[in-house]
Amino acid sequence: MPVNEPHGAAQAAAPGGATAGARPGTAEWEPRIIGFCCNWCSYAGADLAGTSRLEYPPTVRVIRVPCSGRVNPQFIVRAFQKGADGVLVAGCHPGDCHYSTGNYFTRRRLQVARRFLEYLGIDPRRLRITWISASEGQKFADTVREMTEEVRALGPNRVMRDELWAAN
């Protein structure tokens, strides 16, 4: 999966020496969050957060998607499998979809997926789905900050985590 950092995001935030995703259980452990951002709104919002020099923790790896409707729920499972402690899905506000209706479908589908993942044992705080427009740089930064704090309090995710590498 290609990981694209928003241009601004790379310069933003002061990591304070912390390495996101360092070995769980060690003092410097920081949550690792995968952020699926829609190209038209949320990715631009993340970009704005960066160019506005808004501070937020460097815990999120952004994956740009054409629309939040592109986020197959299997992507979310895969992220948790491969080491994400949290997953953020961000799209245009309902009604503002670049493709008219994509995010309406997302809203239905991911409502169900989120509850289902909770049923399978994923703490719902680890999966946040939210609407962030291109002008909401502040909301992007706030979302990442809030989510990082919540996930940090929860500690590393173990549910669904791929242990093949550790087990052998």
Binding site: P73, Q74, V77, R78, Q81, P94, G95, T101, Y104, F105, R107, R108, R109, L110, Q111, V112, A113, R114, R115, F116, L117, E118, Y119, L120, G121, I122, D123, R128, I129, T130, R158, V159, M160, R161, D162, E163, L164, A167
Partner: protein, 337 residues
């Protein structure tokens, strides 16, 4: 324990013996008249508690068809394979099986006009797995010599004696929820209609039980269930809602499901299987019935039914809908909080 006890392999039990011969005659007639090229029904199984699917191709072979309380398997999924060949296929359906056929038709995988639906009123079928497990504890190893249902009681004879099982104990889970045991909108109906019995509501009690656990306990619960999974794909192959021409689990690129088996990948498998049928599951429970290692798959499917019912007001999510709940939206759908 006296009285006459008819065996399943001998044909019918109780009042339904008439249905059996009527069925055989109708099937033979349909085949002889060229109305169908094949008739899908049931034949005797390996024990009196079991039947096996039977593909009848010649009128002479229709005599081997049986209909009784042991006819649990749904035959709907066979229609998919039979679409490959020209001609119409007759299939025996219970009310629950009809939902499965409707699913396949709604998904445009089976052409309605290429199927001749022969409906039968169903008194509720025996969960052979459940009964065998009870027998295994009571009379370990003993073969079932005869079995039959009389007045709502399953009577099973083994070497050491006769055992009786009340309806609630022997019925397949889906039958407990059955609201109408007579299939409607079929092409033919054989035998008499069966009077409905008090159906248990779809209250999702088994889902609530799991949901009530803490997050860590829920994960531990599913870890344990999934760790037994063989990845044999029986749940998928038997499912009337799993009818993709190419299943994502069989694809190598992209590799949706790596071939290695780990608890992590089992989550991917079971999440995907359940989610792909979310809003389309007909609640037949065939997946759970065939699972050889006892994974409670319906607790996954039902959880999704419950969510869809609660979130979008779909009252009967197990009925094939006009529009699939997850392939539509309304502007005022509930938002995330």
């Amino acid at each position: 324990m006296g009285g006459e006890l008819k065996t399943a392999s001998g044909g019918m039990t109780g009042v339904r013996s008439g249905v059996g011969s009527e069925l055989a005659e109708r099937a033979a007639g349909l085949l002889a008249g060229g109305e169908v090229r094949m008739f899908l029904g049931y034949g005797a199984g390996r024990t009196p508690l079991r039947v096996r699917p039977r593909h009848v191709l010649r009128p002479e072979a229709a005599g081997g068809l049986v209909w009784n309380e042991f006819c649990a398997p749904s035959l709907a999924k066979y229609l998919l394979e039979e679409q490959e060949e020209e001609g119409r296929v007759g299939v025996l359906v219970k009310a629950c099986d009809l939902r499965a056929v409707k699913r396949l038709v709604a998904d445009r995988r089976v052409e309605r006009e290429r199927v001749l639906l022969v409906g039968v009123g169903c008194p509720g079928v025996v969960d052979a797995g459940k009964v065998e497990a009870l027998l295994a504890r009571a009379v370990p190893g003993e073969m079932v010599e005869e079995a039959g249902v009389r007045d709502g009681v399953l009577v099973v004879q083994t070497r050491s004696g006769v055992r009786e099982f009340p309806r609630e104990e022997y019925l397949l889970e889906r039958c407990l929820h059955c609201e109408d045991p007579n299939p409607r909108d079929v092409d033919l109906f054989v035998g008499p209609e069966v009077a409905p019995w008090p159906a248990r509501p779809h209250d999702y009690a088994e889902v609530a039980e799991v949901a009530a656990l803490g997050a860590a306990e829920r994960a531990a619960y599913w870890d344990r269930q999934f760790a037994r999974c063989l990845r044999c794909f029986a749940c998928r192959n038997v499912c009337p809602a799993c009818s993709c021409r190419e299943c994502c689990f069989d694809v190598w690129e992209p590799m949706w499901l790596p071939r290695e088996v780990s608890v992590s990948e089992q989550y991917m498998f079971h999440f995907t299987r359940a989610f792909h049928v979310a809003g389309r599951c007909v609640d037949c429970g065939e997946c759970e019935r065939v699972c050889p290692v006892g994974i409670p798959l319906m607790k996954l499917n039902r959880a999704l039914q419950k969510e869809i019912a609660e979130l979008f007001g779909v009252e009967r999510p197990w009925e094939p809908q006009e529009k699939e709940p997850l392939a539509m939206y309304t502007p005022d759908d509930p938002d995330f909080h």
